[in-house]
């Protein structure tokens, strides 16, 4: 009898506790936000945004997870059915993840559509479905070392520079520094995405509009690639490793190249680590016929399709990317540009207009960095061939033929 009553008590207690727990849980929803760790300032700004969201939405708490090896980590989370509620998606990964069905559709869920750049929304639309609101973006522009231009007696680059101006300047600025180290005019990373602006400026394209045909077999593509490779073969440009650097920004910061074509991620790197560097920025040069183009690299906040709290998740994504959330980021004034058009002026103000405008101007005409699922094979082939072309072992024509072959194979898969 006593035993039974003890048992009853335990059961009743357990029921009470679990019921209370459930009630509490309903009141206090916890959603997980997963992303990669950027600079300390950027991480802090995100935490400030999240704190503002939590203050405005009592009952929702956000568990922020900034993980290293993001792609690997989140892929494991997806595969095991343990997806975070809200997470970063790079525009280049969108096709893969949309195809895999792990992203919730954003149709009818995304607010403030008018306040977002058309080119960014386009970058997060796949197969006619808009998936997620942009988090921030970076645009490729031309950075120049003012001291080196002054020393050579050259005028600073302007937005109406053409390829010919770029080439002439690179030629004039190639030489040696005081330490006897080689200095190149321009740094040209051996990467597909760094060459793409030249292709687009020349009026070429990689794929047809509907992604069913490879359109690289064109005079425009040959012209753009011959120009890019030609500068390296002539010794006035080269990959970062040729000037002892890991990436273009580093080569530029160390004064080993006079010109670089990085995105606005380079701002905080240069400002924080090389405060003495005297540099400026302008839009990428145009094709001699006037064609203007750049690349936009952007990330969005996506909501998981497998989600216990879809409404709360969309609330968070919309807040972070909306006017209020964007302002919070814009005021901090670090490298990446906030997604809301209304926050652009605040960002320019914070970062300094003479630097910000060179990047921001490209938002009008930049192309998205996104290709069909499996295109990594194409990039790898192109990059490998491009390196051989830099070494003089391949011609532009060889690179194009190889790349077309692989691209057609991937599309047929």
């Amino acid at each position: 009898m006593r035993k039974l009553s003890v048992l009853t008590l335990v059961v009743v207690l357990a029921l009470v506790v679990s019921a209370a727990g459930a009630a509490l849980a309903r009141q206090n929803v916890e959603i997980t936000l997963m992303g990669w760790s950027s600079s300390t300032e950027e991480n802090d700004a995100l935490l400030a945004q999240v704190a503002a969201f939590e203050a405005a939405n009592p009952g929702i708490s956000v568990n922020v997870q900034l993980v290293p090896e993001y792609d690997t980590t989140i892929q494991a989370a997806f595969a095991s059915g343990d997806s975070p509620n809200v997470f970063y998606v790079d525009s280049s990964k969108l096709p893969d993840w949309a195809e895999a069905g792990v992203l919730a559709s954003g149709e009818g869920m995304i607010e403030n559509l008018d306040d977002h750049y058309e080119s960014l929304l386009e970058a997060f639309t796949y197969d006619g479905t808009l998936y997620c609101p942009p988090k921030d973006f970076s645009i490729m522009a031309l950075q120049y070392n003012k001291d080196m231009f002054d020393a050579a007696g050259l005028d600073y680059p302007t937005p109406d520079w053409t390829w010919d101006d770029l080439r002439a300047a690179a030629e004039a600025l190639t030489g040696e520094n005081e330490a006897g180290q080689k200095v190149l005019g321009l740094v040209t990373p051996p990467n597909f995405e760094r060459w793409l602006p030249f292709l687009y400026q020349a009026g070429g394209s990689v794929l047809s509009e509907d992604w069913t045909e490879v359109t690289l077999d064109s005079d425009e593509a040959r012209e753009a690639l011959e120009f890019y490779i030609g500068m390296v073969n002539d010794g006035i440009a080269g990959p970062p490793s040729m000037v002892d650097a890991g990436w273009g920004g580093e080569a530029f910061a160390q004064g080993r190249v006079a010109l670089a074509m990085e995105g606005n991620w380079v701002i905080s790197y240069l400002v924080e680590q090389f405060p003495d560097l005297n540099w400026g920025v302008t839009e990428l040069p145009r094709h001699p016929a006037g064609g203007q183009a750049s690349m936009v690299f952007t990330v969005c906040y996506s909501v998981a399709s497998d989600n216990d709290y879809p409404d709360e998740s969309w609330q968070l994504a919309n807040f972070l990317t909306g006017p209020e959330g964007s302002q919070l980021v814009a005021e901090e004034g670090f490298g990446v540009i906030p997604p809301a058009i209304s926050a652009a002026d605040t960002w320019l103000e914070a970062i300094g207009p003479e630097i910000g405008e060179g990047f921001l101007a490209g938002a009008e005409y930049a192309h998205k960095w996104q290709f069909p699922v499996g295109f990594q094979d194409v990039f790898d082939t192109f990059n490998a061939d491009l390196q051989l072309a830099f070494e003089g072992q391949y011609l532009a024509e060889d690179v194009i033929i190889d790349t077309i072959g692989v691209a057609e194979e991937v599309l047929a898969r």
Partner: protein, 370 residues
């Protein structure tokens, strides 16, 4: 007659019961290890084999309906054959996958051929040296040689990257010694896709252009000329790095074995008038044979699976010359959303390593019997 049986029976049952009891206790003691072995080894390997027959993308939750389709041997066919004809006569190409696979296999093979003999030989020499009685400060040298092995391979890789950059320590040191070697002619250790054998041939005036048509024959997606490239300069750098980090471990294994050789054997040989070299050739080396087998096997397996140095230093570049099979598994699984293909690549790698180990076992045990 009945009585002894009655007496005997309980005795038999207690023995059997005791045995069962003992066996049970034994299994109980082994249970933790067995469970770990099952959960972390057998089941994942089984899952990998299973997934290699599917087209799973590695993203869609694996237990979801329609997460993957059974594709039979398609992944293996793409990797090994490159192209095939469908039932309706259509030719489907997977030449990139085949090419990448054989490029990675070629790179890995050069890597293994370079690293395994070098590290085994160097480890043996080091072990013999630090085993000498006349050597002062043995403890210091043993620790110093072993140190790279216990340091994080990522940290070591990053330090190597600094040393081997174009204007880095290695090049400036060589430049200080040889006057003709300056910043104009520095070797770009970390970003040079040229094959070492190609470079040597070029010194003798042999190039792709003048070597003859046979060089352009394609087998398994690569031209004969490409097959004969040798490791690229960048791969060579990684080979040097890996040799340096692993000889410490191998040295310790050799050292333990050396100290196990009874001194009476050496004394007998010395009395018979053998000199030091002869003792080494005919006493030390044969007695070390089981250890050598162990070291070479460990080396083979480790080298075929080389991944972290590649991941940190070169990501498979320049021009895919440091793409190894293990790195390709990672790329297929995580960069290309083709986990099924990655699993198939891993299984093929497993088969290769297994075959080499068996072959080498056969070789070594035959030699041992002679």
């Amino acid at each position: 007659m009945a009585q002894p049986q009655v007496l005997a029976r309980p005795k038999v049952t207690t023995m059997a019961a005791k045995r069962r009891q003992e066996a049970l206790t034994g299994y109980m003691f082994m249970a933790p290890a067995l469970v770990i072995f099952l959960v972390f080894l057998i089941i994942p390997i089984g899952a990998a084999v299973y997934l290699s027959f599917t087209d799973w993308n590695g993203i869609t939750p694996v237990f979801d309906e329609g997460a993957y389709q059974q594709v039979g041997l398609d992944n293996y066919r793409d990797l090994l054959l490159g192209e095939h004809t469908e039932d309706d006569g259509r030719v489907v190409k997977a030449t990139t996958r085949q090419r990448d696979f054989f490029i990675s296999l070629k790179n890995t093979t050069y890597y293994v051929l370079g690293v395994v003999p070098t590290q085994t030989l160097l480890a043996l020499i080091l072990a013999v040296i630090v085993n000498q009685r006349w050597l002062k400060a043995k403890g210091f040298f043993r620790t110093a040689f072993y140190f790279p092995s216990i340091t994080s391979s990522v940290v070591i890789s990053i330090i190597f990257m600094w040393m081997f950059t174009r204007g880095g320590l290695i090049n400036t040191t060589i430049g200080a010694v040889f006057s003709g070697y300056d910043s104009g002619s520095f070797v770009n250790w970390l970003d040079d896709p040229r094959g070492v054998i190609h470079i040597i041939l070029e010194q003798f005036g042999v190039t792709r252009a003048n070597v003859g048509d046979w060089a352009s024959n394609r087998s398994l997606g690569l031209t004969t000329w490409e097959w004969l490239s040798g490791p690229s300069v960048t791969m060579l750098t990684i080979m040097i790095l890996n040799t340096w980090t692993t000889i410490g471990t191998m040295m310790v294994i050799f050292l333990a074995a050396l100290q196990n050789i009874p001194s009476s054997v050496y004394e007998a040989a010395a009395i018979d008038g053998a000199n030091a070299w002869r003792i080494f050739r005919q006493i030390t080396v044969p007695l070390l044979r089981p250890t050598t087998f162990f070291v070479v096997t460990l080396g083979l397996i480790g080298c075929f699976q080389v991944f972290d140095q590649i991941y940190v230093i070169s990501s498979g570049g320049p021009a895919k010359t440091t793409l190894t099979v293990a790195y390709m598994v990672y790329q297929n699984g995580f960069n290309r959303s083709a986990m099924g293909l990655a699993a198939a690549t891993a299984i093929i790698l497993f088969v290769i390593i297994f075959a080499f180990t068996l072959l080498q076992r056969l070789f070594v045990s035959e030699r041992a019997n002679v």
